[in-house]
Subunit: 135 residues, 2 copies
Amino acid sequence: MNKMHKEHNLTKNQKIIFDLIDKSPQPLKAYSILYNVQKKGIKAPLQVYRALDKLVEIGKIHKIESRNAFIACHNSSCQVAKATAFSICEICEKVTEISSTGLSKYLANFKDKDGMKYSKYNLEFFGLCKKCTLK
Amino acid sequence: MNKMHKEHNLTKNQKIIFDLIDKSPQPLKAYSILYNVQKKGIKAPLQVYRALDKLVEIGKIHKIESRNAFIACHNSSCQVAKATAFSICEICEKVTEISSTGLSKYLANFKDKDGMKYSKYNLEFFGLCKKCTLK
DNA sequence: TTTTTAGTTGTTATAATATAACACTATGTA
DNA sequence: TACATAGTGTTATATTATAACAACTAAAAA
């Protein structure tokens, strides 16, 4: 198996929740996830949050911090949730993961004025998506 | 009063809350703020959140999204809360606002692969601060 | 095989964060 | 004055997230 793409064998709950998020074109919130998986036997918030925590940890999903919502990672280069960038439309709330080599290199190499480098970052851009720009 | 050079004259509640955040070396959370200003007559969460919303809007403070906490802006160039960058220590939780001309220019001019530019961004770097690096 | 271990599960309860709705007040300005 | 805009005080409630504990499971070590 390719090291770069180590499979994390998801447990039942993790799989149910990942599949739901992965199918969704847009970020889902924890309690909306809960509502959607209750018929599959996941009844309590903690069951959802535990699966979310794990999925974030292994990089299968990302949290959109400014929205308290979760989106599947569609960027093969971020196997671990350490370097994330998103664009967020302030009207329709559409969220897109940005995968730009230039951006990720720039940020991974960024040093602050004390010369510190950082091991992780999260960047959220806000503006209007194409559709909303035209309205 | 002349609107052209309108200072944002803070109201009583806004001023109480801004002063508290401004004096704090580290970000404060809403309910910790509430606790600290109760002796000054601010008794309800909404009074705090309303002041916080306004202070964020006019750029006097910023919200650290990943921590649900608020910090005073010490970066004279961000008059409006539209371009923010922070470093966050994952051990001691120390937060520092980054003011790097290079970084802000790079991000302000960033275009995604559809050529879209964005009007605002928020960037949070995570790692260890100097003190915690030495431990 | 048995035992151990780390990780996950299911559950109840509760903490922490944030907003809705409504009546009222202050202030600037037409 | 009257109007518009923004802020206030209040109660209630919605939303997001974690604590604590007992039990289960799979994989690896003995």
